[in-house]
């Protein structure tokens, strides 16, 4: 039994491992570039600092593209993007990090700071799958919940097997078996719900300035609102068509934008 659980843990860990040794130099160089940007900014060289931050963001992004997917990395990428002036991409990275570590105070503080720099201020909030207050389960990361669910699932079946073989379990073990099944189903359902929400109700961030919210999926359609949207405006994705997204802004306004002008989280 213990061996089986240990084997499950080992499998899960191995399944999530990345080529750490290959990516570590990029990670270190990315942080070095970020530190250099901070120093240049303090020296009153904003343009040089911005270039250093952009280099840092590119290196962090490469690490994510190679398969690393964790809250700290997305947080660092968000910081580097915001510092380099890519406000929308920074907010998108923070939102990805929030999906994995929803209650990280530093992450939420930086996300709030980045949002305060968005020039287009809209009422309301974009109700995405990662910021909903009703999703109480997000106090624990998705990966931890998946492991807990699997272990509880195996534990439940391990206690079912003796009953199948005709052995009567003591009452205490029967209670443990029931609890294990409950935990496995509830926690597993929370993981499934997160995955479903991410697919069914994706959110995104505008990554350039001067985006025209149009009435339809083409440049020939007139603008939906008089004002152009600025970098960093968040939205919920309602529909996807080739090169175009139908979006809903936090104030409820709906319209179409080019997919290339935004980053879907």
């Amino acid at each position: 039994m213990i061996r089986a659980v240990a084997a499950v843990f080992a499998t899960l860990v191995l399944a999530s491992a990345t080529a750490a040794a290959d990516l570590m130099p990029d990670l270190v160089r990315g942080q070095d570039a970020y530190d250099r940007g901070i120093a240049l900014k303090a020296d009153g060289k904003p343009e040089d600092a911005r270039a250093a931050f952009a280099e840092s963001a590119a290196l962090f992004r490469r690490v994510t593209q190679e398969g690393a997917d964790n809250a700290d990395l997305h947080f660092n990428l968000g910081n580097a993007s915001v510092q380099s002036g890519e406000l929308g991409r920074g907010i998108a990275s923070y939102l990805r990090a929030q999906r994995l570590a929803p209650h990280d105070s530093a992450l939420n503080a930086n996300l709030a700071t980045a949002r305060s720099d968005v020039r287009t201020k809209l009422s309301g909030t974009v109700e995405g799958p990662f910021g909903s207050s009703i999703a109480w389960w997000r106090i624990v990361s998705e990966r931890s919940r998946a492991i807990v669910s699997i272990v509880a699932w195996i534990g439940f079946w391990s206690l079912v097997a003796p009953s199948v073989a005709g052995r009567k379990l003591p009452a205490s073990l029967r209670m443990v078996r029931g609890a294990a099944l409950t935990v496995a189903i509830l926690v597993g359902a929370s993981v499934a719900a997160d995955r479903w929400l991410a697919v069914a109700r994706p959110i995104g961030v505008i990554t350039v300035d001067g985006v025209v919210l149009r009435k339809g999926n083409g440049e020939g359609f007139g603008p939906q609102v008089e004002e152009a949207l600025t970098n960093g405006v968040e939205f919920g994705v309602l529909e996807r068509r080739p090169q175009w997204l139908r979006v809903r802004l936090s104030d409820g306004t709906e319209g179409w934008i080019r997919e290339a002008q935004a980053e879907v989280v």
Binding site: L12, L27, V28, F75, N79, W153, V164
Partner: protein
């Protein structure tokens, strides 16, 4: 007693009637007279009228009409009267309107000035204003502009920030159909404005506001040069933010001017006029009679921040007893002295406290712009002052400058100085630092003030930043999750089969038949033993009774269960050989044990039911 009750009731009823029917105490207003020409531009030979409306007149004489060349007057017989009673706040007013109509016909085209018309009401003579009339020849085509638009301002040259009333005026020439002898009134002419396709700029809001109240601009008759127009005014409260002409947006009025009329009748047989054709006209404002002036530079105080109007200011501070560096919340209130909402407070900015030398030498004040709260005609700003020295004894008077657009001068008002008490900043003495023997001093706890904004630091590079924290949902997880229930199911199926077999002796016997036969057929076995082993095997497999172990029983059982004929024939032949060998001379026992084993193996592959006739 009864008489007394009746008296009380009568008093109550009289009082109630006095309340319900206050008309009993109503008064008629003083007489008034109004003279109204039906038209100011008339066609020669056509009739037009002058209505003399007398309000609350009792003794009304005949009008005294002037003598004008080319103009003939006739007082129409009969006077119309209309009585009206209004009750307002318990007071009633009676209004009796009597209208005397004078018909006029102009004979010669040209300009006419009609001297005052007089009428005597209750002994007092009333006279009209002289009226200018334009008399046109009906045969001459009307080539005057049918529509134009202008904008006027009051005042005409406001200062930047000064409230101004702009009025968009739409001038529409009344359409006259000579053939039908009909002139459209102002209400009919308004219907020809294409509101849907017209652009009204900032005036659109005023028009929408009227529409919400089911109103429209009321047209009035006005002469423009020698021509009569209906003028539709659309007012707008305006406040310019920069000098020059007012920025009122794009204005373009679309008008479908009628080109002909025809008479129709509705379901009640009432006469209706309907346009037989229209001429689309599009006009833009030809005149903007307004110019916004810049605020004068002369006399402008250095701390002036754009306030225009008339204001008074006041200030309060809390707390007033603090230590150096502690915050004082100062509330600065600006109240407008203009009662007619002319002074908008929306754009009123707070004074730049941080740049005032009287303040910043003794106080640390944030330089950020602060938003105020508007309540009635006041705007309240709140700012934090922190004294930098304990020598400060007051918050000095805070000046506020505004520009009075009426007088055209800058004015400065001040708040009253607010006395405060500032104690020295708390410091630790040396004895406290080194743990000396001085008495401990109770220090109040303080909360640090967080600075908003700014990004927090990165996570340091480590192997954790290369991990994949997402749940590994995929084939591996499916196998891990699926294996336990599948294993349990397999165990359950196997154990179930075993239990079912164990519960049935025939089935158990059938299952063991092969192994028993194999063990009963060693290499050197007599034909009798082979015969017993084979018939016993068939009896076990087929669930035959102990008494049914003959050759015929075994062969019959196999045939009944549909075993292949060839196999049964071979089986029967071997059993026959065994039977013959039992009675053969000793040493002639040529029964093949191997063949017997082979037959058992082949029968083991057959599905033999425990019931006859079932394969």
């Amino acid at each position: 007693m009864r008489l007394r009750l009746c008296t009380v009731w009568w008093k109550a009823i009289v009082a109630l009637l006095a309340l319900i029917f206050p008309a009993s105490v109503a008064r008629a207003q003083a007489p008034a007279v109004n003279f109204a020409w039906s038209e100011r531009e008339v066609v020669a030979g056509e009739r037009f009228t002058l209505d003399i409306e007398v309000v609350n007149g009792k003794d009304i004489g005949n009008p005294v009409l002037p003598v004008v060349d080319g103009l003939a007057f006739t007082v129409l017989p009969g006077r119309t009267s209309m009585s009206e009673t209004r009750i307002t706040n318990g007071r009633s007013e009676q209004r009796l309107t009597t209208t005397v109509t004078v018909q006029a016909i102009a004979k010669i085209p040209g300009k006419l000035t009609v001297p005052p018309v007089a009428i005597t009401v209750d002994g007092k003579e009333w006279r009209s204003e002289p009226a200018a009339l334009i008399v046109r020849d009906a045969q001459v085509a009307d080539d005057v502009a049918p529509l134009f638009v202008d904008i006027v301002a009051d005042p005409t040259t406001p200062f930047v920030g000064q409230p101004t009333t702009l009025t968009l005026r739409i001038w529409a020439r009344p359409y006259r159909d000579v053939r039908q002898n009909v002139k459209l009134d102002e209400g009919s002419m308004w219907q020809f404005i294409d509101l849907e396709h017209s652009k009204f700029g900032l005036f659109k809001k005023s028009l929408e506001e009227m529409s919400r109240r089911n109103q429209r601009p009321a047209g009035r008759t006005q002469l423009k040069g020698d021509y009569e127009y209906f003028v539709y005014p659309i007012p707008l409260d305006y406040r310019a933010s920069r000098p020059g002409p007012p920025q009122v947006g794009e204005i373009e009025i679309q008008f479908n001017y009628p080109t002909g009329l025809r008479v129709t009748r509705d379901v009640f047989d009432r006469k209706r006029m309907q346009a037989t054709g229209v001429r689309p006209i599009s006009v833009q404002p030809s005149l903007v009679d307004a110019a916004v002036r810049a605020l004068p530079a002369e006399g402008q105080p250095p701390f002036f921040n754009g306030a225009v109007g008339r204001f008074v200011v006041s200030a309060s501070a809390k707390p007033t007893q603090i230590a150096v560096g502690d915050p004082i919340t100062v509330t600065f209130t600006v109240s407008s002295q203009i009662s007619d909402e002319g002074a908008s407070l929306e754009e009123l900015q707070a004074p730049a406290f941080a740049s005032m030398p009287e303040l910043n030498k003794n106080f640390r004040i944030p330089s950020d712009a602060i938003a105020g709260k508007i309540s009635d005609r006041r705007k309240v700003f709140t700012q934090t002052f922190r004294p930098v020295t304990d020598a400060v004894t007051e918050i000095p008077a805070i000046p506020f400058a505004y520009f009075d657009a009426v007088s055209g001068r800058y004015e400065v008002v001040e708040t009253k100085a607010i006395p405060i008490t500032v104690s020295a900043a708390e410091q630790l003495n040396l004895s406290q630092i080194v743990g000396g023997t001085a008495n401990a001093v109770e220090r109040p706890e303080r909360n640090l003030t967080a600075v908003a904004g700014g990004l927090l630091a990165n996570a340091p590079p480590s192997a954790a930043l290369l991990a994949n924290e997402r749940a590994p949902i995929g084939l591996t997880l499916a196998v891990i999750a699926g294996a336990p229930p599948i294993a349990c199911a397999a165990i359950a199926v196997a154990l179930g089969a075993k239990r079912r077999r164990d519960a049935d002796p025939l089935r158990r016997r059938s299952a063991k038949a092969g192994r028993l036969a194999a063990s009963a057929l060693p290499a050197h076995t007599s034909p009798e033993q082979v015969l017993a082993a084979l018939t016993g095997y068939v009896a076990d497999r087929c669930g035959l009774a102990d008494g049914e172990r003959t050759r015929a029983d075994a062969v019959g059982a196999l045939r009944e269960r549909g075993v292949d004929d060839e196999l049964v024939t071979r089986f029967d032949r071997l059993l026959a050989t065994c039977e013959r060998s039992r009675f053969a001379p000793k040493g002639d026992d040529s029964v093949s044990v191997d063949e017997a084993r082979e037959l058992v193996r082949q029968l083991e592959r057959e599905q033999l039911s425990l019931k006859a006739g079932v394969r």
